[in-house]
Symmetry: D2
């Protein structure tokens, strides 16, 4: 499928114009490979401005950056506590278990968000028969389109640290969470030891960054990236994408726009007959039960996924380039009845 | 370092113009992610034309495509026979052993090339204490700048198959080998079961393709790619690079040019005082011992790597965009004395 | 703790007398290592009598035999469906994920038993983002002290095979299940492709056997065992244990006795005030809620585990050497009130 | 094969009498599993007397104890430097690479012994493309029947620590090395951070102990052992073997005897026609080139391995129970001509 616009995923969108421009501008002459270039230096400076003191590793895919980040924290006999259905649990083809060799322990959640209470119930005494629970991994914003408040993230970080665990944040959509919380990238995951910071869904071609905040986890970040197959030789082209989006708050404009389009959509259909919105709309996704008789036709026309067929649940995603007119057309088609 | 031109590596070069153009042309509207798009279909058709009947998986890095390819062939208790110093042995931070869990057994070679005789000497009887030797992996063209003839590859394939092993070809520079051998991509690694076909060094931004030729190895190629973190969401941008370079024999023009520049360089310095060329120049690299007194200054000016400092051995690499004038300047500086 | 007798675990019991005798009898002169000896040949003959045509690998621990068995069936991107809380999920310190590199997907069950219906609900469409579901692993008898009927196992095998999955049976207590079902070892897990057959809990010192029934899974069994660290050099001493217990139906006598002691215990306390038995008693374990005020004192005196403290749930296990008098004393102490 | 006596391997020997006695004595009543018993406490006390302050984990196989020990020291992107042909390299079916996920880098040696000079030549600068060299693993005594002096071990330990590496000692035959060096178990591998201490070849049925000396490596030893499948439930029977051999210097008597038998053999055949002894005889193995015309018949009669057929090299091993008469018969048969 390729179409004007779709509501299938924020990765159906292409590159933001400034990203393409940055690729063209970086394509001049020769540059050393593997990050020893001025584009990477510039990107890391901007990341430092955003996240503060940390080690950074530019990666290529979200699965890749999650694996690299988690590998910095885990020994083979240690485990990760995460929400059932989190990207690392369901949508990475088992890469975390396979590459890192560590068990994932999943916790059912109502809306993708873990809480200290849910974690308390999953905590086990440490003994030799069991894996050692070592990392809590949350997604900010979540796979359900919800976002943690910074205070909620801090509460999980405090819980983790009090129990000798570390906090990893899968931030494939960290920008959307920051826009929702009206705060900076460095403030939307307070207390995190590791962040997988994604820009691909924000308008990059493919740029995901491991942010190692906890000083004890930083040293092997380059070796871990290389071993996880995530080191691009012509790194300047990844770095240029990062710089393009972190300059002049473009990441924030894109995320704010995508979030606004999701709210516009939710507002438009929330009271329609046969429609019910499942989760709070706090990022760029709307999970909505749609009328059974029309959901298939709607999905075909507007290119969205039927998330759970038996319950007629659809996932409607907006992106940095979703237009109000397209949202309004989708609303009209849903409401039309 | 970023400079006009360098002799450090073929990945110091940027994108060929047609690749950048292709990225821009692919950046229109929305497209489904993960390969379900018309650009991927087009790229796979061109790959099919080049390699014949096979399964393809577009990947992002050379290490990634090697890991994906080898993972299709290996169980945990099986091993890979490869040349000592091959990329999978030395320059992938242990990714093959770590991600696949299989042992690499290395064989010393004079010039990067394995032979049936060298393999015979490494063959072991099968018994329970040992890994089961399962894959021979060769690099075409090699890390030493040499290339196998198709007949030499076929001889290794025959050896492998006669001993119940499979043949993997690391083709990060397969284009250069094909240009040298004046044959097509599908003819330069005859008998191979798996090829990692690289275009990054040929002018792409980052595009490496796993080619699964042996029918028994094809089925899980997509899951293996995803698990190895190599599945890009906005796949059309990888596919567009492949199409750009496989169209109108651009890959061949780039490789032929790079090879010619290496020969021009070798011809220019081969008879100079204090210079000796180590390996046959059959691709786009010249390994040359340079005068001890001047090697450092030359390396600094022309941005090449001193490969082995004690012996004053330099690696001089050319790329798709290396100009004759630059080669001539390097020759002049070396010969100058 | 070391005590006359306990209800803590069937592995608190020592060796059955015939096992010790067999060790002594095997301790004569020299024998080739690693299974090339007449004791191993004899043990494998007896295993063949019990299980029919299959490949066997004598191992040392239950976790070891589970890892070896599962490794025969799984590629890295494939997963195992198993009951939440199964030994491979909870009590093997993540060995399956770590050593095999494959994801475990757990399914909540009421009493440790999976069913085709539960499996149906866990089945996913195959696509590249997900692991490929490949093995169903059940425990016979279960960690809850329940046992599958042969028909129930066959139904799961049929389900698995109909969906292109394989069936693995963790038979750490297969003997108890066979005794309960009044059938042979080869009849208590019909349709299984792989069985981890345990004798340690049946009176061995340490002997667990991988049974590879599916012909397509047999070839690498010895390499898989060695790589999983489970190959003992002085194999005759493992084999002698197997022979001791498989001769003259000793395994059956031990299991029948242990099961009878569990039933005697359940019968004794089933109607006592404040006591409720949680799962059907179909093997050698009784899961019983005990009076809150006395459970700690009882656990201390009789050496059993409080399985779930908040609900006063105890696990009471019997072994091949549990005496009726000890059971009666435990019953008396529980009933005494 | 099972025979009166053989020269095939020290693991062809059975249990020393005191080991069998200890198994019988430990077989009384119930005991808690997994090491929470008085036999394990006693064994660990004796190990503490021998090795000083350390953490201990009783294991079942040599491959198992090597994997557990190395896993304590290594992250995935770190490597092991070891002698080519070391047990971990050749005879563990790839278990270290597979289970730990770390690369082994092998170094050719004349007689199984590494030296600081050999290690210097293998040392690489640290950078992101390579594995981080982290552990040196030596075998004491070696697979060639040679032994390091304590000073030689200390020199390697010093080299390792000076380069931020750790020292692991594969001590499957540590007892033989201690006997040769006339020192205690705690003195024969000075500076080691980790020791795999074997008793199986010394007269145990199967008992191998991980000794974690470096305090920073001790904490996860129990989880690492469990995850590597090496935790026996009925641990008292492993512990009893350890105690039996560490009591009254029985380990030393066994090793001294085996070493003496090897020397007796070497002395007997060293000057015979057509015989040449390859390595210094410093433990319980003699590597000897034997007359081509008779080597096969000798091997068949005396059950030893032809180590390298093209060169008529035999490995002749003695054990705790090898008798002088048997040695003399072997000598006579070799010398007879």
């Amino acid at each position: 499928m390729s179409a004007a616009m779709t509501f299938g995923s924020d990765n159906h969108a292409g590159m933001a114009p400034e990203v393409l421009t940055a690729l063209a501008e970086a394509n001049v002459g020769h540059a050393s490979g593997y990050g020893d270039d001025r584009w990477t230096e510039q990107a890391e400076n901007l990341l430092g401005n955003a996240f503060g003191d940390a080690a950074f590793a530019l990666c290529l895919t979200g699965t890749g950056s999650n694996v690299v980040a988690l590998s910095l924290a885990l020994r083979g006999w240690e485990s990760v506590l995460t929400a059932k259905g989190a990207h690392i649990d369901l949508d990475e083809a088992g890469a975390p278990e396979h590459i890192i060799g560590s068990k994932l322990e999943t916790i059912a959640t109502p809306d993708g968000r873990l809480t200290p209470e849910l974690l308390d119930a999953a905590l086990r005494a440490r003994e030799q028969h069991h894996v050692v629970q070592r990392v809590v991994s949350i997604t900010q914003s979540t796979e359900c389109g919800t976002a943690y408040t910074p205070a909620a993230v801090q509460a999980i970080a405090d819980w983790a640290h009090a129990h000798e665990l570390l906090l990893h944040v899968d931030g494939a959509r960290l920008c959307n969470a920051a826009a929702t919380n009206r705060c900076g990238l460095g403030e939307v995951a307070p207390g995190a030891d590791l962040i997988s910071f994604g820009l691909t869904k924000n308008g990059a071609m493919g740029a995901e960054i491991v942010v190692a905040i906890n000083p004890s986890l930083r040293a092997p970040i380059q070796n871990a990236r290389k071993q996880a197959t995530q080191l691009q030789s012509k790194m300047r082209f990844v770095a240029a994408q990062v710089t393009a989006l972190l300059t002049d708050d473009r990441w924030l404009n894109h995320a704010t726009h995508a979030n606004a389009m999701a709210l516009r959509l939710a507002d438009g259909i929330g009271n329609a007959a046969g429609v019910s919105i499942i989760h709070p709309v706090e990022a760029n996704a709307v999970f909505a039960v749609l009328p059974a008789a029309r959901i298939s036709a709607l999905a075909e026309k507007h290119h969205f996924y039927i998330w759970d067929a038996p319950t007629n649940l659809a996932r409607l995603m907006t992106a940095w380039d979703t237009s109000p007119a397209e949202v309004d057309q989708l609303v009209a088609d849903i409401v039309a009845g």
